[in-house]
């Protein structure tokens, strides 16, 4: 079965994969869900971009077009970087808790434990607003995508227009509703994916150097987001930028 071309039988699968991965990226906060969704989205967009590219002379890497290979590999590497970042944060959290436990054992941290429990309960509480806002943003993104793809088509291919606008709108939606560093990084990656697709759609001929540089930028962005996330978490014990500032303000008031 040829997975690199889209036909009448499988295009729905690709659209479902694209839509599903975008919803997961926009709505969920758990990195163990976000990283596979990101990789799936990259691979799906790579296949769609390959199928929509009407260039006669393609640069091939064996049986696979270079564009698909670079896009796929950059997505996988970015996914691995985010996965490792999430893992590093969990290890850091465990160490932090072990430190707290030690303090409690030494009977120094009763008050701190009380505050920590209150904070954890508050943080782990299921709040509709955490999901309503991203779902609302996704619905708005879907509406905007439909409107743009029908009112401002530019590539002569409805699938290409739809996917480009969808990635752009979802990327912006994630950036708007995102509060933590990893989430904002994911939003940027989704938007970047859209630009790559546009390059495949409208450009006449693959430039291997541009494709490689674009893949390198994707990986560099993932590394930078990971660096910022780990640095921030190590110091503030949260990834939420607003929360970090509020916590500090509360502490200074006390």
């Amino acid at each position: 079965m040829d997975f690199l071309t889209i036909n009448q039988n499988n295009y729905v699968v690709f659209l479902i994969l694209l839509f599903g991965s975008s919803v997961i990226l926009a709505v969920y906060k758990d990195w163990s869900l976000l990283t596979p969704a990101l990789v799936i989205q990259f691979l799906t967009v790579a296949v769609i971009a390959n199928d929509l590219n009407e260039t006669t002379v393609r640069v091939m890497l064996g049986a696979i077009p270079l564009a698909v290979f670079l896009k796929g590999i950059s997505g996988v590497i970015a996914g691995v970087i985010f996965f490792l970042t999430g893992y590093a944060l969990i290890v850091e959290r465990r160490e932090y808790r072990a430190e707290q436990l030690e303090e409690e054992m030494n009977d120094r941290g009763r008050l701190r434990r009380l505050f920590y429990r209150m904070q954890t309960t508050q943080a782990n509480q299921f709040r509709y607003v955490d999901y309503v806002l991203p779902i609302g943003a996704i619905i708005i993104a879907a509406g905007a995508t439909y409107a743009l793809a029908t009112l401002v088509p530019f590539s002569g291919n409805i699938l290409g227009d739809f996917v480009f606008y969808w990635l752009g709108c979802v990327g912006i939606a994630i950036l708007v509703v995102g509060r933590d560093i990893l989430k904002l990084g994911v939003g940027l990656m989704v938007a970047l994916n859209g630009a790559d697709l546009l390059y495949a759609l409208l450009r006449n001929g693959d430039s291997p150097v541009v494709l490689a540089a674009s893949a390198a930028i994707t990986i560099l962005l993932a590394l930078l987001v990971s660096y910022l996330a780990i640095l921030f978490y190590t110091k503030m014990k949260t990834l939420n930028l607003g929360e970090g500032l509020q916590r500090k303000t509360r502490r200074s008031r006390a």
Partner: protein, 460 residues
């Protein structure tokens, strides 16, 4: 030989990172010194290679334009001065500022060497990403400052990606236009995307939301990397790109007029907002935003005076930014990284830093006898050629920025000394550098002709 110039900064960056890993600059004094020596030697070698006669190269594939050579030389010299200033001010202790500066220079150089605009865009975006490491690394140890620095770094990251995306999309549409010249409507889209992308990168009002908090929270020398080096290289790229594609702006007055409106309105409004700021960094951000607005106006204007004024202003902006950011770093060093909030009478405690800051701010305000004057004068002259209201708007932008700067300077540097404030003495090496920069500002202010001639010949 000419190709050596591309990998050289990256090889040395890798070497410095490795060396810093073995001999931490925080522990070894000689390592800190070498952090200055190696990048400066590399920058000197890059300047030499830049001006070496090269065999005939196809400028359609790669090669430096005359303007790029001129500006890269200036960038390298000023980066060398920034590294020299970083040493006595303790900025090199973490060991990342030197390799980051060198890597940023290398990426900007690669960007200006390659003719493919897609690659240039990616190089500038990569340079922005790398500069972020310096932004976060020099954020300071205080928690609140750190959180705000990371928050502003994330905003800067988003702005950098947006710049890359808009430019990338504009270039893709331009390719489409080349294939099908009948699509004249696409020109508007390309110009709009280019303008928005560069307005975001340069921080032209109202696309400057990422800039005020960034400059408020980060170390001044990291600020120089972000709003000095990268913005200057991006502007040079924009000018070269517009020269290669005159149908977009230079030969298209209708499109150019819209960009001129944006630049001028941005300059005047940013000047007005600079008056309302409550922090030194935020005020500086709006003044810089106003200056880049004027530069955008000058680049888009159909008159040669506007273009040469914009490029001369850009070169001076680099020099003045370095002077201001070095003086600010010196002030924060003497204040032991404490905030300027509520502090008065600093002029007596830090006279050299105060002089440096004053000259820098007056220079940015386009005061005669200082280096900022000639560029501003040419831009306002070019605005006057469009009509009196254009010139008035440009003048209002400059005047408001100057008022904001003087007001802020008066608040902190004049008046009574703050009782109980503990400060360090100004380090001699840093004061010598500030004085050297002040001298350069005066020199280019009194004698701008040679520099203007160089820029004019590079434009031709």
């Amino acid at each position: 030989m000419p190709f050596l110039i591309l990998p050289l900064p990256f090889i040395l960056t890798g070497f410095i990172v490795g060396f810093e890993f073995v001999f931490s600059p925080a522990r070894f004094e000689f390592s800190r010194r070498l952090m200055v020596v190696w990048p400066i030697v590399a920058l000197a070698a890059m300047i030499t290679l830049l001006w070496l006669p090269t065999p005939d190269v196809d400028l359609n594939l790669f090669g430096f334009s005359a303007l790029a050579k001129l500006f890269l030389t200036l960038l390298y010299v000023l980066t060398g001065v920034a590294l020299l200033a970083a040493y006595p001010l303790g900025v090199l202790d973490t060991g990342r500022f030197a390799p980051v500066s060198l890597a940023v220079c290398g990426l900007l150089q690669a960007g200006l060497y390659l003719a493919n605009p897609f690659l240039v865009t990616l190089c500038i975006v990569a340079a922005s990403f790398i500069s972020l490491i310096a932004v976060v690394d020099l954020a300071g140890t205080k928690e609140e400052q750190f959180v705000k620095a990371v928050r502003s770094a994330v905003r800067y990251l988003i702005a950098s990606v947006l710049f890359g995306l808009t430019l990338f999309i504009a270039l893709v549409f331009l390719e489409r236009l080349r294939l099908d010249p009948q699509l004249t409507g696409v020109i508007k889209i390309v110009v709009a995307l280019l303008t928005v992308g560069f307005a975001v990168r340069l921080g032209v009002f109202p696309f400057n939301l990422w800039l005020p908090e960034l400059l408020e929270e980060i170390n001044g020398l990291a600020g120089f990397l972000v709003v000095g080096l990268i913005n200057a290289a991006a502007t040079v790229f924009l000018f070269d790109f517009l020269q290669r594609n005159p149908a977009l702006l230079f030969d298209n007055y209708n499109q150019a007029q819209a960009v001129m409106y944006l630049g001028l309105a941005g300059a005047a409004l940013a000047g007005l907002l600079a008056l309302a700021q409550n922090g030194m960094g935020k005020m500086l951000a709006y003044i810089i935003s106003s200056d880049y607005g004027l530069i955008l106006f000058g680049l888009a204007s159909p008159h040669t005076t506007g273009k040469s004024g914009a490029l001369y202003s850009l070169a001076n902006l680099l020099l003045l930014q370095l002077l201001i950011f070095t003086s600010l770093s010196l002030i924060y060093y003497c204040l032991r990284s404490n905030s300027l909030e509520g502090v008065t009478g600093l002029g007596r405690r830090m006279p050299i830093a105060a002089v440096g800051l004053m000259v820098g701010l007056l220079g940015m305000g386009g005061v005669p006898l200082l280096s900022g004057f000639a560029g501003k004068y040419l831009i306002i002259q070019s605005a006057a050629q469009e009509g009196i209201w254009w010139a008035l708007a440009a003048g209002v932008g400059v005047a408001l920025s100057l008022m904001a700067a003087l007001r802020y300077f008066h608040r902190h540097f004049m008046g009574n000394d703050t009782p109980g404030l503990r400060t360090r003495p100004e380090p001699r090496a840093a004061t010598a550098l500030v004085l050297a920069l002040v001298f350069a500002v005066l020199l280019f202010g009194l004698w701008p002709a040679p520099a203007l001639d160089l820029i004019n010949s590079a434009i031709k």
